[in-house]
Amino acid sequence: MSAGDRTPPPAAPPVDPVDDRPSASAGGAGTLRRALTALWHDPPAVAGTLVLLVLLVVGLAGQWLAPAGTNDVDVDQMLRPPSGAHPFGTDELGRDVLSRVLVAARVSLQVGLVSVGIALAVGVTVGLLAGWYGGWTDNVLMRGMDVLFAFPVLLLAVAIVAVLGPGLVTATTAIGVVYTPIFARVTRAGVLAVREQVFVRAAVSIGTSDLRILRRHVLPNIAAPLIVQTSLSLAFAILSEAALSFLGLGVQPPAPAWGRMLYDGRGFVTDAWWLGFFPGAAIFLTVLAFNLVGDALRDVLDPRQLTVSEARRSTR
């Protein structure tokens, strides 16, 4: 996808216009390459990717890009509307909203990436074990996941944050926990399908170790749904973080977070629309970008995956 990628785009996927499902044997690297190529041909996905790139830059370099410090309190400049000096206006403490929105990108990305990372690591491990070993291991692990799945997402996150105390770390953990079962389920379903395939059975018959089979044969073959799930979960996780912050349970002041800015600005929305508008728009754009990319990936990698479970698992 980068400009440096010199490989010519492969010819349009071969044959049969009716069936464009990828062949099951494509491995992880191939999956990713195919996905990236396909993204390049989908305008919304390109837009989403560009937004994400910008976000990444802002997330990494927000401090330096921000025209002012995030905590430059100036009581003589309180609640000023957008102007040349403050393109997004100032907040109730006279701080530059643009700077805070820029710096807050890092929090959102960080919580999103880390929590989904946790969910991915734990969920995939659980799913692999449950799917591969079956029997009691499967039963115990998956019933455990069912239990976590039995709570509405935000409720569980709020409950976890409530007992552990609000803050960045607990919010990240809570979101990670909440999104774990979906990865476990996706992984397990994939493992069950792959387990019966010839190359896996062959590997078992020649005595390859379980760990090696899982890593070399199983994981690459379930990469597609996992990639899709990851990108969509990122969107949900960022929304969840914003919701927690909006409840005052996420990152604590004075550190800026989009949800928290909405929370703090709530009392002033009717006087100062910019306090409510810009942070919300930032959340929206970020989530939208992840969704666009995620949807495009799904179309390419896993076209039949709009399932009940996805509808079940949004942000609530």
Binding site: A12, P13, P14, V15, D16, P17, D20, S23
Partner: protein, 365 residues
């Protein structure tokens, strides 16, 4: 069959029930246009059975679907189609829908998916009568009972209110046939109606259709990839490959003297009685992608005769072998033997499988 149904008007003399000329269908796909059917002509007379034969993807189903206005929305259809003397291509969409529904019955391949799972079979069998014959719901139901009885479903009065999943595959196909016959159509289009069934049931269904045709005088277009079925039921046969007709003629003539290498290969590939368990002689290679048809003969990459460069670059015309028997090849009957079991077999066998330099996508399954 003493019901209130009004049969399709029987056309006078030898006016074909369905007449297709120069039909071309192009499908818009994500990967560009795909020409599924190209310049197809054929007709079927009242009471006649036409068998449309070819591998899957050869365009035989698309031909009839496009002809009757059932092509997917992405398709562009050109050419002329006359049903009972009326030009379907000139009609408005809704006229065409009515005309088709009234005069053509369809039997599709898989009875498991052809029936709507949430409606009773009776409702599905007779709803066309409500639509086209102005029957009331009640009349339609008793008509459905009659039809179920006609196709040999036991206890039709009770079964009429059952849902499809309560029927076996063979019984379902009988339901589908009953449904196709609901308005006593002039034409029955049977699109591989036996493929999804076991052998015994297949025979029963074939027999049922033949019997109904005799009793009702319906014209039949029978689509199949299995030449074995064709011999028993069809009057004429049209073989399709890559969206075109490659050979067409009376069943006897085609079976006795197949003019096209592809027909010969198909005949060779057909399972023969007494050879059960024997490996079928499959045709090496794969049919061409409709996205990427060669300029010349579509069969050329797989052709055992192979001919010369002309085959690759120039489309062979349909040439008559006899007035009713036409073949699309530059080498008609050149290698044709006289007996069907000899025909093509040595030719097909002369090239070892796997040594096929087909340009199309070697890694593709």
């Amino acid at each position: 069959m003493s019901g209130a149904a009004v049969p399709s008007p029987r056309v006078a003399g030898d006016t074909p029930v369905l007449e297709i000329s120069d039909l071309t269908v192009t499908l818009g796909t994500r990967n560009g246009p795909a020409r599924a059917v190209a310049g197809v002509d054929w007709s079927v007379a009242p009471g006649e059975t036409l068998a449309l034969v070819g591998e899957s993807g050869s365009g035989k189903s698309m031909t009839v679907l496009a002809a009757t206005g059932l092509a997917p929305r992405s398709a562009t259809v050109t050419g002329r189609v006359r049903l009972l003397g009326r030009d379907l291509t000139d009609m408005s969409g809704s006229d065409r829908r009515r005309w088709r529904g009234r005069h053509v019955g369809f039997v599709f391949q898989d009875p498991m998916t052809t029936l709507n799972p949430v409606l009773t079979v009776g409702r599905q069998v007779a709803e066309a009568c409500e639509e086209h014959l102005g029957m009331s719901r009640r009349q339609a139901r008793s008509r459905a009972v009659e039809l179920l009885d006609l196709v040999g479903i036991p206890a039709p009065g009770r079964r009429v209110d059952a849902h499809p999943h309560e029927f076996s595959g063979g019984m379902r196909q009988r339901v589908v046939i009953a449904m196709a016959l609901a308005c006593e159509p002039a034409l029955l289009i049977a699109d591989e109606p036996t493929t999804a069934l076991d052998v015994t049931t297949q025979a029963q269904i074939v027999e049922l259709v033949a019997d109904l045709r005799r009793r009702l005088g319906t014209a039949v277009v029978w689509i199949t990839h299995d030449l074995g079925v064709v011999a028993g039921i069809a009057d004429t046969v049209a073989v399709m490959y890559g969206g075109r007709i490659v050979e067409q003629g009376p069943v006897d003539a085609v079976f006795v003297a197949p003019g096209h290498p592809y027909t010969r290969a198909l005949l060779a590939a057909r399972p023969r009685p007494g050879a059960a368990g024997e490996e079928l002689a499959a045709i090496p290679g794969a049919p061409p992608s409709p996205l990427d048809l060669p300029p010349g003969c579509a069969f050329w990459p797989r052709c055992p005769v192979r001919g010369d460069a002309r085959c690759a670059h120039e489309l062979p015309p349909l040439v008559p072998l006899t007035p009713a028997h036409r073949v699309r090849t530059f080498y008609p009957a050149a290698a044709a033997g006289s007996r069907d079991d000899a025909a093509g077999r040595p030719a097909a066998g002369s090239r070892p499988a796997g040594d096929d330099p087909a340009p199309s996508t070697p890694e593709d399954r």
